[in-house]
């Protein structure tokens, strides 16, 4: 099956600095892809090259199997939702949503039907006659979505669409977005710096670091097994430990076992003796900072007898210890 979007060794330079370096990306039909990473990683640049607002300095952009690298945005069948929503202020909601259809020369009857359907899908048919400035932020966002969906694009491109909403609304809209994508079966690419958003919404999570892919795959896989330190840190892993055998590993604090110094050494893990330098009470458990021969390890424990200065034995079970290579590598996509 032809992928909907394919990026073939795409690069983009700005004044001598590479924002995107030889990026390969495949987006399959019906798939929800998240481009995730810190500021400056190249995710928005990549999205804009897919949309046609930027031309790559090298490589090819293929849409539905056709080379679209030099094609202007209006000739690509895309639907884009901007962070600022970019609703046309001088048009009603209905005219906004119908705009793409009007540009394609869709006849009046069909235009009205499809506009109505799009508004229905986002649950805002009753606002058709309003002007954008009369809408709340969440409503504007949904209209922007309806406008992009109405044209039945090959791919829906979302540039941090939820960033301007408050926390509670963001979570609500995330669920709306998921529902709409499932219902329409549209292929979607979302740019975000919010890992929760990417974890919840995407089928394929692509983490970018300085213009290249640090890791990509199903959210569960990537989260469970970060391929390198950058990804682990980005996903909130806190422990980066160099073990006695020389490996650099990461392990989540909740997986570290905190034992008394006299405990028998469990098998199938790495055990070190450490002293506690901090104990932070959290209500249901506590977070302890343990230092062993220069290594700092964070762990959680429900043993409330633990105190600063106490000696402990730490066990890092093999099942939860993740090896981190010194160089970046990609996990094969499923």
């Amino acid at each position: 099956m032809t992928p909907v979007v394919q990026l073939d060794a795409v690069s983009r330079e700005f004044a001598g600095t590479a924002a995107v370096r030889e990026l390969d990306l495949t987006v399959r039909r019906g798939e929800f892809t998240a481009l995730l990473g810190p500021s400056g990683c190249g995710k928005t640049t990549t999205l804009r090259m897919i949309a046609g607002f930027l031309e790559p300095t090298a490589g090819r952009v293929l849409l539905e199997g056709e080379d679209a690298t030099r094609l202007p945005p209006e000739r690509r069948n895309i639907g884009m939702v901007f962070q600022s929503y970019a609703l046309f202020p001088h048009m009603t909601v209905e005219k906004n949503v119908a705009f793409g259809l009007r540009m394609r020369g869709i006849p009046d009857g069909e235009l009205r039907t499809r506009t109505g359907e799009a508004l229905e899908l986002v649950g805002l048919s009753h606002l058709a006659a309003r002007k954008p400035k009369q809408l709340s932020g969440g409503q504007q966002q949904r209209i922007a979505l309806a406008r992009a969906i109405a044209v039945r694009p090959s791919v829906l491109l979302l540039d941090e669409p939820l960033s301007n909403l408050d926390a509670r609304l963001r979570i609500q809209m995330r669920q709306e977005l998921a529902r709409i994508q499932k219902e329409t079966g549209l292929t979607a690419i979302l740019v975000t710096h919010d890992q929760e958003e990417a974890l919840e919404l995407s089928d394929n999570m692509v983490i970018l670091d300085q213009g290249t892919v640090a890791q990509q795959g199903a959210p569960r896989e990537v989260f469970r097994a970060p391929a390198n330190r950058f990804v682990a840190e980005f996903l909130g892993y806190e422990n980066f430990v160099e073990l006695p055998d020389g490996r650099t590993v990461t392990i989540r604090p909740e997986h570290v076992e905190v034992l008394t110094p006299a405990s028998p050494t469990p098998s199938g893990g790495t055990t070190v003796d450490a002293v506690l330098t901090a104990v932070r009470f959290r209500g249901t458990d506590c977070v302890v900072t343990a230092v062993s021969e220069g290594r700092t390890v964070l762990a959680t424990s429900s043993d409330f007898e633990l105190h600063t200065g106490g000696q402990v034995r730490l066990n890092l079970p093999a099942a939860h210890t993740i090896d981190l290579p010194r160089t970046k590598q990609e996990l094969p996509t499923s």
Binding site: I78, F82, L87, M103
Partner: protein, 247 residues
């Protein structure tokens, strides 16, 4: 405020005078000076010229200025600051100097008619207003609007006419009003760029005052004031005054 209004109200009062000379308080009330003003042929011709030049120069300045504003606001290209400064520079040059330079080049050297020179001169004079005011309204609008239109299938030209221009409309109206008034009221440029049968109303008024000092000039001034206030009120009804002058 009274400082500004006082002299103006004085002039208005004198316009309604029944006397033969400019005196305050006027001896009586009469509309004869208005009658004289409206039937004075030099004033009539001056008015027509002023209206024509103001309208045409405003149009030319906008047609030239809007693309410049677009280029400067929406694209950062090498030397865009220089281009912007170039188009804003007529506002800095003393008008008398501008007028004389244009007189020398256009009318003497190139032998262009007074009307032509007037049109060119006024257009140049108005360019800074066209570029600055429309530029300001563009700067306040979201550049993503145009990208959104392109993403939805509108080519660059269609995007300009369906999105950019309507969004800029209040800015364009305010630039037009400002430009029209600036051109109409202009004296230095119009003083130098005149010829047989071609001179603007302010210049004609200036001429008249040098030879006759009677309430007719006051009457003309009152009429001009009324027209300006009328234009302002019209702008308020059509577009909203604070929208126009806050952009």
């Amino acid at each position: 405020m009274a400082f500004l209004l006082g002299p103006i109200l004085l002039v208005v009062a004198i316009g309604f005078s029944s006397g033969d000379t400019v005196e305050f308080p006027p001896p009586g009330f009469s509309l004869r000076w208005f009658d004289q003003a409206l039937s004075n042929s030099s004033f009539q011709q001056g008015l027509l010229t002023s209206l024509l030049v103001a309208a045409a120069a405003t149009l030319f300045a906008l047609v030239l200025g809007i693309p410049v504003a677009l280029a400067v606001q929406r694209h950062t290209f090498r030397g865009h600051k220089t281009v912007e400064t170039l188009f804003l520079s007529p506002a800095i040059v003393p008008e008398l100097v501008l007028g004389f330079a244009l007189f020398q080049q256009l009318m003497v050297t190139m032998r262009i008619t007074a009307l032509g020179a007037l049109l060119i001169g006024h257009t140049v004079l108005l360019l800074p207003y066209a570029v600055r005011v429309t530029g300001a309204s563009l700067a306040l609008s979201d550049p993503a609007l145009e990208e959104a239109a392109r993403g939805l299938g509108a080519g660059p030209l269609r995007t300009f006419f369906t999105i950019t221009l309507p969004v800029m409309a209040p800015g364009i109206v305010s630039a037009a009003v400002l430009s029209f008034l600036t051109s109409f009221n202009n004296v230095p440029l119009s003083l130098l760029l005149k010829g047989p049968g071609i001179s603007t109303l302010p210049v004609e008024m200036l001429n008249y005052v040098q030879f006759s000092y009677d309430p007719m000039v006051a009457a003309v001034s009152t009429l001009l004031l009324a027209a300006t206030v009328g234009a302002a009120l019209l702008t308020e009804r059509l577009v909203g005054f604070n929208k126009v002058f806050s952009r």
